[in-house]
């Protein structure tokens, strides 16, 4: 018990001693970085729709172009530099997801196509995929229950 309290005291002391990023500044930068990425996406979407593609197909093209751009920027080591400034603003959009898949692919290529890229490409994105699918399953199940019980039409 006494040891636990000592450890807690040290942890609190270290927390006070350790510098952290400025939260408002980081949020501002994230807002700008995320906003720019989404604006680019919106521009692509508008162009696709102007070219006469229907809404779904335009959305597909937009995602694809953003993903390819992010992968290329990761390969040229530009995306990590943007993320250093933009933080969560570069992490949350689809470009961040693409980066989290491309980066391990590049790093683990040296360990082979199967054991390297194959096994490790989703080391970072894996949890997002797993729990993303799981959450959508839970929500879908809830939706079905509500429908069957007649609560929603």
């Amino acid at each position: 018990m006494d040891k636990e309290r000592q450890q807690q005291a040290y942890e609190n002391y270290v927390k006070k001693k350790t510098p952290v990023h400025n939260l408002p500044a980081n949020m501002g930068k994230a807002f700008i970085a995320g906003g720019v990425i989404c604006t680019v996406g919106q521009a692509v979407l508008n162009i696709c729709e102007k070219l006469g593609l229907d809404k779904d197909v335009s959305g597909g093209w937009t995602s694809m172009i953003l993903v390819v751009a992010s992968v290329l920027l990761t390969g040229f080591n530009i995306y990590p530099r943007i993320a250093k400034w933009g933080g969560a603003g570069t992490l949350v959009p689809i470009t961040g997801f693409a980066n989290s898949v491309a980066a391990p692919a590049i790093e683990y290529k040296k360990e082979g196509q199967v054991m390297g890229i194959g096994c490790k490409i989703f080391t970072i994105a894996g949890p997002v995929i797993l729990y993303g699918i799981f959450t959508s399953w839970v929500l879908g199940f809830g939706y079905w229950l509500l429908k069957v019980s007649g609560i929603i039409a």
Binding site: V14, K17, H21, P80, T90, L91, N99, E107
Partner: protein, 334 residues
């Protein structure tokens, strides 16, 4: 012979005959850039992978250290080496060509101290004329092992440290030189229960404090008896914590403390946050910056205390704390 609780004072102190440092590009651009024996402009060192690059650094450092003393590999009795990679492969792959009987070590970033302690003990005990101690770390291989692939986009916390790409090798022996290892203090594992692997300075500071005080008490010295007390890689956060811990125990080392992690990079221009870290941090700084000063007699006696944060990705993910360890090596001009 043994001294105090954890230390050894050598009756016939072994000499630090020669040493060598090999460093990467970023280190070469830092404050110590011109002092390293070899700086490679390309962090792959002409190899295909980070791990091979790290092994090459170790081999080059060993060859340079032996070359400076005109000693051949066959004259070296034992080699004490270690690194940060799983199962110590950087050392195994790096030094295999040298054909020197090997002890593979792990002490996280304190490995240079562990290797020097064992090498000097072996020489002092008369088990051989020359021993080689070597350690290394590489930014690429360490990031991959402990954190994320290099291309992954994230923000490093301000308490994070930058793993040094570098290797230092030290030839310890009976041949006269201007530096002697007069004593060692082997450190204990000190665990204050901290679990933040991104704040290693805070994890290691208690161990550094413990070893430094142990050394002072075992040898009956005051902090002022050392021209410098040099920690391995506490960084800016760890140093301020060390000062507080030492003050709490009645010691003031502010005036003569130096930290390799704070010396090897320029925090303002090199974006390294809390400072350098890794086995290579303490080892290259010792070889390139500290030893020349002791050799010239600018510093008569220093206490070199490399510090290590003991953890693996598994222990960390399973919620274990990150204990620290530190070893003290007393270096004297002669």
């Amino acid at each position: 012979m043994t001294k105090g609780l954890q230390s050894i004072a050598f009756k016939e102190s072994p000499y630090l005959v020669s040493s060598a440092s090999v460093a990467g590009k970023k280190e070469g651009e830092g404050p110590l850039g011109k002092m390293f024996d070899m700086v490679e402009k390309e962090d792959l060192f002409g190899e295909n992978t980070w791990e091979e690059a790290e092994s090459t650094m170790q081999k080059e450092a060993c060859l340079l250290a032996m070359g400076k003393a005109h000693v051949e590999a066959k004259d070296v009795r034992y080699l004490f080496g270690g690194d940060l990679l799983r199962q110590g492969v950087a050392t195994s792959m790096g030094v295999s060509e040298l054909n020197i009987p090997l002890f593979g070590l792990f002490g996280a970033c304190s490995t240079s101290g562990e290797a020097l302690a064992l090498a000097s003990m072996s020489v002092a005990a008369g088990y051989g004329e020359y021993m080689l101690a070597v350690t290394s770390s590489h930014f690429g291989s360490a990031e991959k092992e402990f954190r994320f692939p290099l291309g992954y986009a994230n923000q490093r916390p301000l308490s994070a440290q930058w793993t040094v790409t570098g290797s230092g090798a030290f030839l310890v022996g009976t041949k006269r030189s201007h530096v002697r290892i007069t004593g060692v203090t082997v450190g204990k594992i000190v665990d204050y229960g901290l679990k933040d692997s991104q704040n290693m300075g805070a994890c290691m500071a208690p161990a550094a404090c413990d070893t430094i005080i142990r050394n002072l008490e075992d040898f009956g010295r005051k902090a002022e008896d050392y021209n410098r007390i040099i920690t391995g890689d506490l960084g800016y956060v760890g140093q301020s914590i060390l000062f507080d811990l030492m003050r709490g125990k009645g010691y003031d080392i502010k005036k003569n403390h130096m930290d390799c992690g704070m010396t090897i990079f320029d925090q303002m221009t090199q974006d390294t946050h809390a400072g350098g870290s890794g086995c290579g941090c303490a080892a290259t700084t010792l070889s390139a910056y500290i030893l020349p000063k002791v050799e010239r007699g600018e510093w008569k006696r220093v206490l070199f205390v490399p510090t290590g944060a003991l953890m693996s990705t598994v222990s960390y993910n399973e919620g274990a704390s990150v204990p620290g360890i530190a070893h003290g090596i007393v270096l004297e001009h002669c």
